[in-house]
Amino acid sequence: MEHLVGILNYIVFFAITAGTYSILSLGLNIQWGNTGLFNIGIAGFYALGAYTSALLCGLPPSAWEGRTFGGFQLPFIVGLLGAAIVSGVVAMLVGAPTLRLRTDYLAIATIGIAETIRLILTNESWLTNGVWGFQQIPSPLYKTIHAATSAYLKGHPNLPVWLHDLISKSYDWFYLVLVLVVLFILYLIMERLVRSPWGRVIRAIREDEDATSMLGKNTFSFKMQALVLGAMIMGIGGSMYAHYARFISPVSFKPLYGTFIVWVMLILGGSGNNKGAILGGFTVWGIWAGTDFLTKYLPFTSTQSASLRVILIAVLLEVILLWRQQGLLPPKKHLFSQK
């Protein structure tokens, strides 16, 4: 029974991470899946969200920290919204010089902004505490839930071990529900949006931008809206990550790794399909976590195993591109079919 609880606790941890990644994948789906915008700087917007939230909600700098600013101890929801706003504003700055040009320029600019953001996070210690990063980022309602759990466990000292183990992890269960609620709300909003006239315009841009432009639509403005909206969702993902991990540093946001895995999630799940984005998030994270177990049985060092896992994901991407570009759940034919 204890064994089972151990597995269950792992599944909760797994689902929190997969849920957070699914938020990123959902954000990418509005940019790439629906509008055809090639953003390869996801890790940058994710990092911005995480750091903004940590700055707004975290503790003031302690004596031994390098930073001298921030830590306003604001409520979680302020951090979440702040994360969305900051990521959105930066996306606007990246979009302005590039969205009128061929999509390659957006790709190059987003990879550049992700790298620049990581350099700023590493170098501007007064703001970010440099390579040491933010510690003790408060988790929402942690004290309340933790106090209630401890009180309950103290009041019931004779619980079986497995039940004790299960209850002591109650905060993780709460956070899982929180992640899933945020994911579900974002999913509903995205579904409404892609079915709206706005959604039809951005999909038309994906299919044929010139034709859409000739129909009198300001395609630059629509592309900008999709880019900003997607980046805001990625910022929210960053905030959700920061408040669960409680510790963030520039290493958590390695530019290509953070970005790459989200791309594989969306492409595997099905670009252009919000359900696909979420399915891809859980599937690819499952594969990623699964290879962690598998490589432990191989006679390699831990860095070799880590490389092997990335190679496997890269192979997975190429296989999908070669043989199943539409992914597991292809987009529905919105444009011409009546439902």
């Binding site: 090639f38 061929r102 390659d104 190059i108 790298e115 350099l119 190679i311």
Partner: protein, 307 residues
């Protein structure tokens, strides 16, 4: 004042790193204009070349092939042999990657190719990491003293003069190839209009192979030169330069190899000179900011035509 006194020296460093960035940029530019996509694996082709050279050099040293230094340079025959073979092997490896992936995806359009190149980038880098670990490896541990040029307190190492000279020679060779050979003309024709080139009987498949030979060959060269300049190589070597390379390519005018050379030089010099004023850690960000300013002022780049 001390800062300003350093600037001539920084300019020289800038020309060295600009030479390497430009060699990388020519390949990116050719891939863009002839194959129609931004190749994000180009930096990792550089790293691949650097590691193949390392592997061959280690092998040759083991076989007892002499590496007695040429004059004041830090390397000799063994290393040069490894260098040349690494260029050839990198080109072959890249052509194989093209056969295996890019060729099959060409019909799916540039964005799918771009995506595939990102997969190749991460795959290659981690293959290198798997076999050689993420730790730095050295071509030579010997310390080479810099010599004074006798003007403005500029000091430069013989190896660095070699880097600049080789880059200049290669740029001239590529220029002559593009301008005066039949294949060079075919490549330019295909860059202008691929369909038209095919209709006129140009063997586009051969053009593509030559594009990779030049692009990957120069990438391997750039990677090995970066290894000589930095004194060590890591699997991230190419990725760390990719942003500067792309910034150079965009600055010069994407798809124009001469623009890539000019842009790469400007980026290399700007990055080095910037270290007199801001933290060295911000070098790639300097490249990025210059690129964004160029996109705002003239998106077609310094030498670009209308897209």
């Amino acid at each position: 004042m001390t800062t300003l006194a350093h600037i001539p020296q920084l300019l020289v460093y800038g020309i060295i790193s600009g030479s390497i960035i430009s060699l990388g940029g020519i390949g990116v530019s050719l891939t863009y204009s002839i194959l129609g996509f931004s190749n994000f694996a180009h930096g990792d082709f550089m790293a691949l070349g650097a590691y193949i050279a390392l592997g061959l050099f280690t092998l040759f040293t083991g076989l007892g092939i002499t590496n007695a230094p040429f004059g004041p340079l830090s390397f000799g025959f063994g290393f040069v042999l490894a260098f040349i073979l690494a260029i050839a092997l990198t080109a072959i490896a890249v052509i194989l990657i093209d056969r295996l992936l890019f060729r099959r995806l060409r019909r799916s359009g540039p964005v799918i190719l771009m995506m595939s190149s990102i997969g190749v980038a991460l795959g290659l880098r981690n293959i290198l990491q798997f076999f050689w670990s993420p730790q730095p490896h050295y071509y030579s541990q010997a310390i080479q003293p810099a010599v004074s040029l006798g003007v403005l307190n500029i000091r430069i190492k013989p190896d660095e003069l070699f880097i600049i000279a080789l880059a200049v020679v290669l740029v001239i060779v590529v220029h002559a190839f593009m301008r005066y050979t039949k294949m060079g003309k075919a490549m330019r024709a295909m860059a202008d209009n691929a369909t038209l080139a095919q209709v006129t009987g140009i063997n586009t498949d051969r053009v593509i192979i030559w594009t990779w030979v030049i692009g990957a060959g120069l990438a391997a060269t750039a990677g090995i030169l970066a290894g000589i300049e930095n004194k060590f190589i890591t699997p991230e070597l190419g990725w760390q330069m990719l942003l500067s390379i792309f910034a150079g390519v965009v600055l010069g005018g994407i798809g124009n190899p001469y623009g890539a050379i000019l842009g790469g030089m400007v980026i290399g010099i700007s990055e080095e000179v910037s270290t007199a004023f801001i933290s060295t850690g911000y070098k790639p960000a300097v490249a990025f900011v210059i690129m964004i300013i160029m996109l705002l002022v003239k998106p077609t780049g310094l030498l670009g035509r209308k897209d």
